[in-house]
């Protein structure tokens, strides 16, 4: 089926365009700036020491993971409401990127937690609900990637996507309640919530910009790739139908 790919019109051989190339360069510059400010220029934290530097990646990643989830739910709602394939692809692309970012959040959080708390994992409300979020996203992706009819996949995953944010809210609420009934979430009190200022605040700011650029860049490329995948599916089907038809014709 390589001929299908070769036959793609000019300009469709890559998902890049001038806009995304500029965005990509900006993202690289942002990441370099983040590395410079996060690792070199910003001072170590008074109580957490050098470990605090992980948070310049951790906190922005968490924010954009949440943004990705909201995009998935909005996209799914728009798809179910307006039958818009564009929004469906936005939902799919952002769910996939949100999954990656959630995984980054969990991993960086654990790396941060080990020296700070002495353990990789505590059954804190935030940690537990983030882990559940990852599982919910994996469920969405599992349905979206089913080996089934395109319509079946998109419609079913859209219903799951629509319920994603409500589910996350309920899970979060219940987990928070569950933990606070037993113990106060004191662990994070001297973490993210603590006062940050000066160069550290600026580094975090850079982190938000750099991670945001990476998020946008990934989202656009993933969207285009998903769109091309759909085209290829359709083209493959059309070709197969045409082939079967021509078989029947007397030659």
């Amino acid at each position: 089926m390589t001929t299908q790919l070769d036959a793609a019109p000019e300009g469709l051989d890559s998902t890049g365009s001038r806009g995304t190339r500029v965005l990509g360069v900006l993202a690289i510059v942002g990441l370099a700036a983040l590395a410079l400010f996060g690792l070199v220029l910003s001072p170590p934290d008074a109580s957490q020491g050098e470990v605090v530097r992980i948070l310049y990646v951790h906190v922005p990643s968490a924010t954009f993971a949440y943004i990705g989830c909201f995009l998935t739910t909005i996209g799914s709602a728009m798809f179910l409401w307006r039958r818009s394939a564009w929004w469906e692809l936005v939902a799919y692309a952002s769910a996939e990127i949100a999954t990656v970012f959630t995984a980054i959040v969990l991993v960086t959080g654990m790396i941060w937690g080990r020296p700070t708390w002495g353990v990789f994992w505590v059954w804190d409300a935030r940690l537990t609900s983030t882990a559940m979020l990852l599982l919910l996203l994996l469920g969405y992706l599992a349905v979206r990637r089913l080996p089934a009819d395109h319509d079946v996949r998109t419609k079913r995953s859209a219903i799951i996507g629509l319920l994603l944010v409500p589910n996350v809210i309920i899970v979060r609420q219940s987990v928070q309640w569950w933990r606070t009934l037993h113990q106060k979430p004191t662990l994070l009190a001297n973490g993210v919530g603590a006062k940050i200022e000066g160069l550290m605040l600026f580094s975090l700011f850079i982190g938000f910009i750099a991670i945001g650029l990476v998020f946008a860049w990934l989202l656009i490329h993933r969207f285009r790739l998903a769109w091309l995948e759909d085209q290829l599916d359709d083209a493959g089907l059309d070709a197969a139908i045409a082939e079967r038809r021509s078989e029947g014709e007397p030659s």
Binding site: L135, G139, V143, L146, K155, I159, I160, S174, V175
Partner: protein
């Protein structure tokens, strides 16, 4: 809608009465899980008694997965799904009927499982009202969410493996809530349990509403 729901619930329960799959397979499975927990956690160390609420609800959740699979398996053969679609019954009614039938089966299972827990784990049963209300609300939550996600997975080749992945994270709040409410009841402090019942009521209502609106389109294309 209510009439259709009762029709569907009656049909599913009649099927169950005649085939006795839940009685002969799901219930023994639930009891088996209770025994396996005893193997895993040394029964002499009173861990079992302490962890009774959690173990009980885990057993219920696993059994519920089987009951839900069964609820959609009976529609899978002989083009029953097409028959359902052609029957002219309100999809919302079909959804509610399925929820009612699964709930009824689960409530019977929970009652028997409760006896099993009391006998096998020598747990003392107290706070009857809270226990009963928790069971009803949690069962409605499990059945409503389970039926919605069940139809999502129905008709796919991977449905057996997909349903647990989709459903169990969603049901996490129900597991937390029902376990805490049972703990509160068994510890003799029911006032701590009622907020959880409230949370599960919201959960159940959300999924009943989502199912009423979402079931039709999902049944259409599957």
């Amino acid at each position: 809608m209510i009439r259709d729901a009762l029709l569907i619930a009656g049909k599913d329960l009649r099927l169950e009465l005649r085939s006795r799959v839940a009685l002969n397979q799901v219930l023994p499975f639930a009891l088996l899980v209770l025994v396996l927990f005893a193997f895993a956690l040394d029964p002499d160390k009173s861990v079992l008694t302490q962890a009774t609420p959690g173990l009980y609800w885990i057993a219920v959740l696993f059994s519920a997965l089987l009951a839900l699979q069964r609820s959609f398996a009976i529609e899978a053969t002989d083009g029953n799904r097409d028959a359902l679609r052609l029957s002219g019954l309100d999809p919302a009614g079909i959804f509610l009927g399925k929820v009612m039938a699964v709930s009824a089966q689960l409530l019977v299972l929970e009652a028997l499982l409760g006896v099993g827990v009391a006998v096998l784990y020598t747990s003392r049963i107290e706070g009857w009202i809270l226990l009963a209300v928790t069971s009803v609300v949690a069962t409605a939550s499990i059945a409503a969410a389970g039926t919605l996600y069940g139809v999502l997975a129905a008709g796919l080749r991977v449905r057996e493996t997909l349903l647990p992945l989709l459903l169990l994270p969603v049901l996490a709040p129900v597991l937390i809530g029902s376990t805490r409410a049972f703990e509160a009841a068994l510890n003799g402090s029911p006032s701590e349990g009622w907020p959880w019942v409230g949370l599960m009521s919201i959960f159940a209502s959300l999924y009943v509403v989502a199912g009423i609106f979402g079931f039709g389109p999902l049944l259409e294309e599957s």
